[in-house]
């Protein structure tokens, strides 16, 4: 009798522990993010996690096909350019409504752009729209953009602007709007609790089609390995970034579907050209000769989860010139040359024998390891090096030379995510108009008139073939300075549970759950 009782207690205990914990197994799509969002409205910032949710809540005028990267109509049903390429006229789809039932018309579109341009609003995105003089509503369903100069990447920048309801924001104010954001996209805002969950629900009146997923939940889980475990056990449905080791492990899992594509983000290291000896080409070459970047890439990314970058453009880009640059610019490891250059610099009094150089990196594992690899290679040829992994909140001000126009750093490691059009990436990184302490993206302070001229010309040239040649030449000149050295392009590695269907990987890591290309659905 006693043993039966004991058995019973044991059974209860085991069943209590093993109750299925698929709490949200219904129509809810849960995905994990390492960094939480910072806002609900794109006006206030464009970090990736927030951007993913904006992408589901709001519509844009133009969308980009995640596989071909061609612009496609969305709220703008059609558009045309003027002869001189300075006027862009767009017709809007009629009958689109916001989540509160108001109609989406041209005045909302104008408002959505103008609030970014308005200096009063202090939008971090404002700098991206310097080419835009004005936007006007010609009638309820037609808008006209007036450009400063013919700008080929305009459509892509236009695709980044989320259309918000003018009347609502005017009525309740920006702060109240951010608490209850309203868009016209496939999902409606439900709640966001920082650090816990960001919840959206299906917009049954979505103009394009009815989403098949009922709810979307973004859950912040800081550790990527914990995210992968959650995915394996069905606690979440999707992860949009993975460590290579987790990706390779999950490839053989029966419960999970993995997918990957070349990413849009390249990782590089660069030299602070404002100070000696970094402004001496011999020093930069000595460092590059000391490195085996192929080896570093395959060590950091086993199983081919990243490829070497020779230029700065995505592999998918029509302007990618990696093959050409690999032959013309890229240096392969040559320790003797590195040592010779170092001795030459010491003889000329450019560097001291025991001068210590600093390599700054963000704190994530991969880039910290890259920093260590660089340091070890430099030590191998005699340099003394210190690696400084730095929290993001401090790293950006350091890179921007806050309070120290010459900059505290000697060498730094960074990843750069461009748009599909090459203009955005190359102009910001190389053009001298972006080189000044405080705020810039030409962080290394590279200034070259020829490169400036080529980039300006390419920005205004309409023809893709002409632009391709210009960008190739600009990259060849700029990269030959070895002030920026591209290292790798990591693959975008994602995975879903097997109950997720029709998911299309977007190399920009946006999660398109219901758009013109797909409508993701879940098994019961």
């Amino acid at each position: 009798m006693k043993s039966i009782k004991r058995m019973f207690i044991l059974l209860v205990a085991v069943s209590l522990l093993s109750v299925s914990y698929a709490v949200l197994a219904d129509g809810t799509f849960t995905f994990a993010t390492a960094k939480d969002a910072t806002n609900t409205d794109a006006l206030r910032g464009d970090d990736h996690a927030s951007g993913m949710m904006h992408y589901l809540m709001y519509d844009q005028l133009v969308a980009f096909n995640p596989q071909t990267f061609e612009p496609a109509p969305e709220i703008a049903s059609a558009w045309s350019w003027s002869e001189d390429g300075k006027i862009l006229t767009m017709n809007l789809v009629e009958g689109v409504t916001f989540h509160n039932g108001e109609d989406l018309t041209a005045s909302d579109v104008v408002f959505s752009f103008e609030r970014i341009l308005d200096p009063e609003n202090a939008s971090p995105q404002r700098g991206n729209y310097a080419w835009l003089i004005s936007i006007d509503a010609l009638d309820d369903y037609t808008v006209q953009f007036t450009l400063e100069y013919p700008f080929v990447a305009a459509l892509e920048f236009i695709s980044l602007v989320m259309i918000v309801p003018e009347e609502t924001i005017q009525e309740i104010g920006q702060e109240a709007f951010e608490l209850h954001p309203i868009g016209s996209g496939p999902f409606k805002f439900v709640e966001w609790i920082k650090g816990e969950r960001y919840v959206l629900e299906r917009n049954d009146d979505y103009w394009m089609k009815t989403p098949l997923i009922e709810r979307v939940v973004m859950r912040p889980i800081p550790e990527l390995s914990v995210q992968a475990l959650e995915l394996e056990t069905g606690g979440i449905d999707m992860v949009y970034e993975m460590a290579p080791t987790d990706y390779l492990r999950l490839q053989s899992s029966d419960d999970v579907t993995t997918m990957s594509a070349d990413g849009f983000s390249y990782t590089y290291f660069s030299f602070n050209l404002s100070r000696s000896p970094m402004n001496d080409a011999r020093f930069r070459q000595a460092v590059v000769y000391a490195l085996d970047l192929d080896g570093a890439t395959s060590a950091l990314f086993p199983g081919g989860t990243a490829s070497r970058a020779y230029g700065q453009l995505p592999k998918q880009s029509w302007a990618n010139a990696d093959e050409y640059l690999q032959g013309k610019v890229t240096l392969s490891q040559d320790l003797d040359k590195a040592r010779d250059l170092r001795s030459e610099l010491i003889e000329d009094g450019v560097i001291d024998e025991d001068q210590v150089f600093t390599i700054w990196t963000p704190t994530d594992d991969v880039r910290t390891s890259l920093g260590t690899i660089l340091a070890t290679a430099m030590q191998q040829v005699g340099f003394r090096v210190e690696v400084k992994p730095t929290e993001w909140g401090t790293y950006i001000p350091v890179l921007l030379r806050q309070g120290n126009p010459e900059g505290e750093w000697d060498i730094m490691i960074l990843s750069y995510t461009g748009l599909f059009d090459p203009d955005y990436t190359l102009y910001k990184v190389w053009h001298s108009s972006h080189a000044f302490p405080g705020t810039n993206s030409n962080l290394h302070m590279y200034m070259n008139e020829d490169v400036d001229a080529l980039l300006d010309q390419a920005r205004r040239a309409g023809d893709q073939v002409v632009r391709r040649a210009l960008y190739q030449e600009a990259q060849e000149i700029a990269l030959s300075s070895y002030s920026v050295v591209p290292v790798y392009i990591a693959r975008v590695m994602q995975a879903t549970t097997n109950r997720v269907h029709d998911f299309i990987l977007d190399p920009r890591s946006f999660i398109g759950l219901c758009n013109q290309w797909t409508n993701v659905w879940l098994d019961e």
Binding site: Y21, P119, E120, A122, L229, W392, L399
Partner: protein, 317 residues
């Protein structure tokens, strides 16, 4: 007694003021400012100036400080990376941390004190060695590793427990639902192991010390049973350092175990601190630090008062 409490409260207030000045100073001395992080790497100088202006960063430091202080206590200070009020957010996270800390500490006390007593009473036996080895392991293994291993074993292989998060929050707390309990177990266990290790060792060594004292000999020679000697006479006096240790760590755990909460995605104060640092949310970081300091003060006051109860020879004057 009342005088003592009032004096302690005044002291705490002074400490808090010092903490706010110190924290604000550190925030301002760190390179750069929050506007730069928000603006990212592509804003123009005019845009940056506009963002700084909107965030009030272009005003003199003492004005900014005063705005933070008055904002914090009037409830108008808002996080830079969250549209809703700071009080609601922090309150919610505090509850999560206290809940986790409470479960972990209660479990640690319930397990470690008997373990420490056993180790002391059966000194130099297998029991003692076993408990010592476990304690050493608990102290030396990093908490995030323990948490990860528990996840792999109980979540990944055995599939008994969910990996992360707080689970069913229907009643506001995880410990009020079965699903919530299943979620709290892994983070609580990893915290418990460390607490337990320290407490068990402390209990053992303090008890051993007390057992050498004359009054214990007296008690034994009176013919009292050994269990009465240990639990009634020795244990109570050996308990003081243990209470101190529990109190100190309780302050730490209640105010957010940053590592454990980050690894297990337990949405408590510690995680929020980590997020605020990474996103450089100065108002939030300021508010959090002040609240954490307040928490420490309250816990220490509680520990001090508990002393008096445990050892009536301590007089508050």
């Amino acid at each position: 007694m009342a005088g003592y409490i009032i004096r302690r409260c005044l002291q705490s207030l002074l400490v808090l003021v010092a903490v706010t000045v110190l924290i604000f100073g550190i925030l301002k001395l760190a390179p750069g400012n929050a506007a730069q992080v928000m603006a990212g790497l592509s804003a123009t100088p005019e845009d940056l100036a506009a963002i700084e202006h909107r965030m009030g960063l272009d005003r003199p430091v003492h004005v900014q400080y005063w705005k933070f202080i008055t904002g914090l206590f009037s409830g108008t200070l808002k996080p830079a990376t969250f549209p809703d009020s700071m009080i609601g957010l922090v309150g919610r996270k505090l509850l999560a941390s206290v809940e986790l800390g409470f479960v972990a500490i209660v479990a640690a006390v319930l397990l470690s004190i008997p373990a420490g007593i056993i180790a002391a009473v059966y000194r130099n036996t297998v029991w003692d060695y076993g408990i010592s080895v476990l304690s050493l392991a608990g102290i030396s293994i990093p908490v995030f590793w323990i948490a990860l291993m528990l996840m792999v074993v109980f979540g990944g292989w055995l599939k008994w427990l969910p990996i992360s998060g707080r689970g069913d929050l229907r009643f506001g707390l995880s410990i009020l639902t079965a699903d919530g309990w299943r979620h709290i177990l892994i983070p609580a266990m990893s915290l418990t192991l460390i607490q337990m290790a320290m407490n068990a060792r402390l209990t053992r060594s303090c008890l051993l010390e007390v057992l050498q004292l004359d009054y214990i000999k007296t008690a034994r020679s009176k013919g009292l049973r050994e269990i009465v000697v240990i639990l009634k006479h020795a244990f109570r006096n050996a308990l003081l350092p243990v209470v101190t240790n529990v109190g100190l760590t309780a302050g730490m755990v209640f105010a957010g175990a940053i590592l454990t909460e980050t690894v297990t995605a337990w949405p408590g104060i510690g995680r929020l601190v980590y997020q605020a640092i990474v996103q450089r949310d100065e108002p939030l970081l300021f508010g959090l630090t002040v609240i954490i300091a307040l928490f420490y003060q309250v816990t220490y006051l509680g520990v001090d008062l508990l002393y008096g109860y445990l050892n009536p020879t301590i007089v508050y004057d």
